[in-house]
């Protein structure tokens, strides 16, 4: 177990350093912060003066070191627009994003678990075909369009739900459903294929032979084992889930990290963009690590295989 943990931690460190290099190079190698900050009619001397002032005439690795050592202490510089530290701005917007992500995950499980189990138990039945169709359609659905259609139907036409905003449970309904619809197809497929695989195993036959009720076989013996791949893949897909939350937020004007980042990108406010990128990556990587460790604890085979 200890070796497994160490290996996972080393991988985490490598990924975090990689992401920070990526975030750094987005601005410093592809773009040029000085031209972005100075007015267009600024002269050559002005340009050189600012370049020196911001420490951008030093070698790239010195600049990266400065960025990284600041970032470790939570210092990503001040926002070029709002007069506040970028770190504070991003952290303040974190809770709505996390709530939305959790709500979306909940909705996805509510849709995917019953349908996936039914499809697995009654293979090639009407339910199974329906699930396959739903999964294929769901994967093709652009959720920003789904969100807008929901707004047009439920907010504009029927006036049942608020089109945007944050605070009450009504505000959660459409965004959570939207995100849930994004995640449900893959979850449903995983539940179905995982359960089918487990149902064919020897210990299920043993349990049946012992005369255990079919209901208990499915719930206690099969489902628990089928959960392992579902949890693993969902954990590894956490980045995609956040990506989905990102898209959902922009449709419903949800006051989370995504709307902040998109606004920052429009304003070319790079300290905020960099901070958001690094913090989101850190969250994703930590979730992946936690999931890996939990799964490793449950199932010794994975520990050995990884």
């Amino acid at each position: 177990m200890r070796r497994y943990l160490v290996r996972q931690l080393v991988q985490l460190a490598v990924v975090v350093v990689g992401i920070s290099i990526l975030a750094f190079s987005i601005l410093h190698i592809i773009g040029d912060p000085v031209t972005l900050l100075l007015p267009q009619n600024a002269g050559k001397e002005e340009y050189a003066r600012y370049k020196h002032l911001m420490g951008l005439d030093k070698p790239v690795w010195v600049q990266y070191w400065k960025f990284a050592s600041g970032a470790v202490q939570g210092d990503f510089g001040r926002s070029w627009y709002g007069n506040a530290p970028a770190f504070r701005l991003v952290v303040d917007r974190m809770p709505p994003t996390i709530y939305l992500t959790l709500a979306g995950l909940g909705v996805a499980l509510l849709i995917a678990l019953p349908l996936g189990i039914l499809a697995a138990l009654k293979r090639h039945s009407f339910v199974d075909t329906l699930c396959t169709l739903l999964a294929v359609a769901g994967q093709a659905m652009p959720i920003f369009w789904l969100g807008i259609m929901l707004i047009i139907i439920f907010a504009v036409r029927l006036r049942l739900l608020p089109a945007s905003g944050y605070g009450t449970w009504q505000n959660f309904v459409m965004p959570a459903f939207c995100l849930g619809a994004f995640l449900a197809p893959i979850t449903m497929r995983l539940v179905r294929s995982g359960l089918i695989e487990v149902m064919n195993m020897e210990f299920i036959k043993t349990a049946r032979a012992k005369g255990v009720a079919e209901r208990v076989v499915v719930v206690k013996h099969a489902f628990r084992n089928a959960c392992i791949p579902v949890v693993t893949v969902l954990g590894l897909q956490f980045g995609q889930l956040l990506g989905g939350a990102f898209i959902t937020e922009t449709v419903f004007a949800w006051p989370g990290v995504a709307t902040l980042t998109v606004d920052a990108i429009r304003n070319q406010d790079f300290p905020v963009v960099q901070c958001a990128v690094v913090l989101l990556a850190l969250i994703i990587v930590s979730v992946n690590l936690i999931v890996d460790v939990i799964v490793g604890l449950i199932d010794p085979r994975i520990r050995a295989g990884a």
Binding site: Q11, V136, Q139, P142, I148, Q240, T261, V285
Partner: protein, 304 residues
Amino acid sequence: MTVGSGAAVGPAPFDAAASPDTAGAGWRRLLRLKWGVGGAALFLVIVLSAVFAPWIAPHDPLLVDIRHRMAPPAWMEGGAREHILGTDQIGRDLLSRVIWGGRVSLLVGVSAVLLSSTIGVLFGLAAGYFGAEVDWSIMTLINVMLTFPFVLLALAVIAVLGPSLPNMIVVLGVTGWPLYARVIRAETLALREREFVLAARALGMSHARIVFRQILPNLVSPIVVIATLQIAQVIILESFLSFLGLGVQPPTPAWGNKLGEGRVYMLNSWWIAAFPGLAIFVTTLVINLLGNGLRDWLDPHMKL
């Protein structure tokens, strides 16, 4: 060839079970593929209508018809007969814009996928074939890229480079490769130990010749399947970027930017947002059906 006969010598229960009624099995498989065939046919229609947009579209997509601004679809009350799907906020024909918009999405989808599959296949082959440090570095790079939400990465890069069609193709192409690399690496790792590769090595073939002449031809099926399915994903991503105003800029007709404009007018004119989005949905659905059908047809056991 040698591999095939070698497998036949050993006990091959699956082959024996499948061989008796080959014609019947073929028909049944084709029937199961009907969704794939249907998807392919519809996809062809979409591609043709995009290619021949200037001849098919009833109006010029940029032509402003001030008398019919925000006209609803023809079947609704107040709809104009010459604008079947209605018009947008300055009276441009929506159907024409949707037909023309397909050009941007398909162009971006296909070019980005060509770019990312080339990069991904090269990296995957290198990682799987050479192993050791090469494998470790490439896998680390893949892990970094895969942990990160694709959307955010593309957005950040577009923000620096500026929104334009070539920039978008490059960004979507360069961010999309890890998916191919991961699959190709795993397949190459398995192929590397097979007899025909060992034989090629014993014959003294160069690494490049073994990789491209012996290994790569075996990987065409997974590459084709992933690439097809990825076109749909790239189209969704491209539309999202355009929807945010960070992709294809108006007045160039694209599904994404029309959807973004339509959002502003959704209180009164739902059709401006509805139809471009529907076009995205139908196109990606059809491509997914085609991709799934291809997978079943090429190799039903493929794990993708």
